[in-house]
Symmetry: C2
Subunit: 425 residues, 2 copies
């Protein structure tokens, strides 16, 4: 990469006193540090406004995206550890973005990935560097509580009516979120070839929508595990309300506590919280739970290269989380000799899903404000915007993996059982 020398690529613009002048006077050292910061992150096409209104910009086409740094402390913090401090300072209102947060993140991520310092390259031990062993039985409970027990009322504001907090499946890009979440559940059920009378175990069931869908539409019985207390309470309540409580059992427990034998094993959006150190353990749970001709499906966020999540995301949003590469996922299957039958990458569907969530979240901002402070709102906006950006850029993937025992010769012969469905919900 050619990084322009600081003298030629940062153009100081006239001082604009109408904004951001909350941090005192701007000195030469401040503009020098700003240039240094932009250089460090690969000189993206950005306009930076400092606290007294001083503007700097990369040359070339005028940048449509602007970043306002409201005080010297924030600037210093950005320089020392942008991946941690940008999030905190944005949440605190010490940094503002003009021209769209998603666009900003896409621009900056794209640029950072071209720099030696921030380039995401595959490192087999990556997930350990920022991930202490957080996913023990007790640690997992704490991590899940941090995110999922924020309050059902909050999630109800911006999730679909069925409360699915995982990637939807849009038969057409302009399908509604509600339809796309139902289509996702259908896709999962069809991939598992569910038939009436079968038994299913679900590891990590969220608010329980998939389990209820399976019971209602496919005539199976489901035992669904989750360690989020609030989610389990909600799931049980809805099962009662829908009159299916006899056919779905929600168990407030860890996936490691699963007992019994089932015709299908399904886990949608849990693996991200398991941690590669525990994949072997999860593999053994699946091995002891699946009948001879059972099918399994794991739906998870993933990555093309093994790299840790940003420290801000790990600290503030999802402690203990790690989206695996397909290579890392194989630790689930290879030691137990499972056959991988089908992998589908729904990356773009997750970008679309997160766009819907972000829109709904912003739409209900006033309602959210009644529940949480501004810092929470800004952190959440940043998180959802970052997800849109990362799925758009291909930094994150979404894998659906179907598998069986190696000797299972009753697996679907072709994908014709999915065909009628692939194009329409």
């Amino acid at each position: 990469m050619k990084v322009p020398k600081s003298g030629e690529w940062l153009v100081p613009l006239p001082c604009r006193s109408d904004k951001a002048n909350t941090g005192g006077r701007v000195y030469g050292i401040d503009t020098w540090l700003t240039r240094k910061f932009l250089q460090t992150i690969g000189a993206p096409p950005l306009r930076v406004t400092l606290w007294d209104g001083t503007e700097l910009a990369t040359p070339g086409s005028p940048p449509v995206i602007g970043m306002v740094i409201r005080d010297r402390g924030a600037l210093w913090r950005l320089l020392t550890n942008p991946l941690l401090h940008f999030g905190d300072d944005y949440s605190a209102g010490r940094v503002e973005i003009e021209g769209g947060l998603v666009q900003f993140m896409e621009t900056v991520y794209r640029s950072m990935d071209q720099t030696p310092k921030f380039r995401r390259t595959s490192d087999p031990a990556a997930y350990r560097r920022h991930q202490p062993k957080l996913n023990s039985l007790a640690g997992a409970r704490q991590n899940i509580h941090h995110h999922y027990d924020v309050g059902n009322a909050f999630y109800q504001l911006w999730l679909d009516a069925e409360m699915l907090y995982t990637c939807a499946y849009f038969p057409e890009p302009d399908a509604s979120l509600e339809d796309a979440q139902i289509a996702k559940m259908e896709l999962v059920c069809r991939k598992l070839r569910l038939r009436p009378g079968q038994t299913v175990v679900e590891a990590g069931c969220g608010w329980g929508a998939l389990a209820r869908h399976m019971v209602r539409r496919y005539g199976v019985t489901v035992r669904a595990y989750n360690i989020s207390h609030e989610q389990i309470a909600y799931a049980r309540e809805r099962a009662r309300a829908e009159g299916v409580e006899g056919r779905v059992e929600y168990v407030e427990d860890d996936y490691r506590a699963i007992t019994g034998k089932y015709d299908a094993f399904v886990s949608v959006g849990m693996l991200e919280h398991v941690g590669p150190d525990h994949y072997h353990e999860l593999g053994r749970v699946i091995d002891r739970s699946l009948t001879e001709h059972g099918l399994g499906l794991i739906h998870t966020i993933g990555q093309n290269v093994a790299a840790p999540m940003s420290p801000w995301f790990l600290k503030r949003i999802f402690p203990g989380s790690y989206p695996p590469t397909l290579r890392e996922m194989m630790a689930l299957f290879e030691p137990l000799e499972f056959s991988v039958l089908d992998v589908e990458n729904l990356r773009q569907h997750y970008a679309k899903t997160c766009e819907h969530w972000l829109d709904r979240f912003e739409h209900h901002r006033d309602r959210v404000r009644e529940m949480f402070d501004e810092r929470f709102i800004r952190a959440w906006r940043l998180y959802l915007s970052g997800c849109v950006a990362n799925f758009n850029l291909g930094t994150l993937q979404l894998y659906q993996v179907v598998f069986s025992r190696p000797t299972n010769n009753l697996v679907p012969w072709t994908r014709s059982h999915l065909a009628a469905f692939a194009g329409a919900s």
Copy 2:
């Protein structure tokens, strides 16, 4: 595993003098060694007839499968290294099988996999143990010549009319081999979303059928590489005969010599011969060949666990070959940050394909006999039967993997472009 004591599980049967009495007298040591051999391979339900007609069998239901050992040397060899010597002694006629070779291999493989000595467990360095570095430029040529330059006339006897020597795709299990091979080519083309005017590079093109199919049916131009001299000569001749020689170029060269940029990269049945040590190299070839929005497809035999092929197979049939696990395949994609979009496992289709090949081979046995000696015929029968058994048992898999660059947002939104096709050819 509970291995019965030799005294209780091997029942000597009355001597049958009507067969196999070619190796002199059978002593106590011979029956002891036979028991030992059966014990070593996990005591499968087998009847063993020694060279003077002495029979031994495992107790329980009378075994339908029999093995005739024609001399003491063969017995010794089986005991010391069954995975190498069974093949050679079967080829030499020193061992005979009664009750079906495929059934015999399935029975024995299933049994061996239950023994500590022969159990196939995943070993990350497995492929190196029996694989010297055979796949250098010169080594690869030698290996490919060994198998593929046996003579086009031989392969024409038992392959389909288009001469495809890779897994077919049977929309229905009872489709003909000819239809299934055309369906396979269609499946590959659709997964690559070929459009008129596009350019395709093919690594390892066999007798060139896929390249010609793409040109004829999809209006693309193809450059196809192969280091088998006989295959390339045949491919060029057929392209001329079909009047498509201006739109398909067959290059007699290694995949490492590929130059140019293409809208699609395709490789069907070559990766097995590349060797994991060279995946990174192949990944870089793909990286430099694929346009920004190009799609790639790799179709290869694979395994659930990283284990070497049998030494007999490596020595007599496919030197330098290794079917990777999905984990190992990721060495192609992860370092270059390719996105894996779709993986389909066609294992059962390959069992079916090999069954067709074996049937046709046996049907034309007299014609084959005019070309080769009995040892070759028996070795080839064993190889094809072993393939049927291994795909049936799930020891081998068949992966089709579709991939793109990570930033490609023009990848198919769903699988609807495959849907109309999945159930009918």
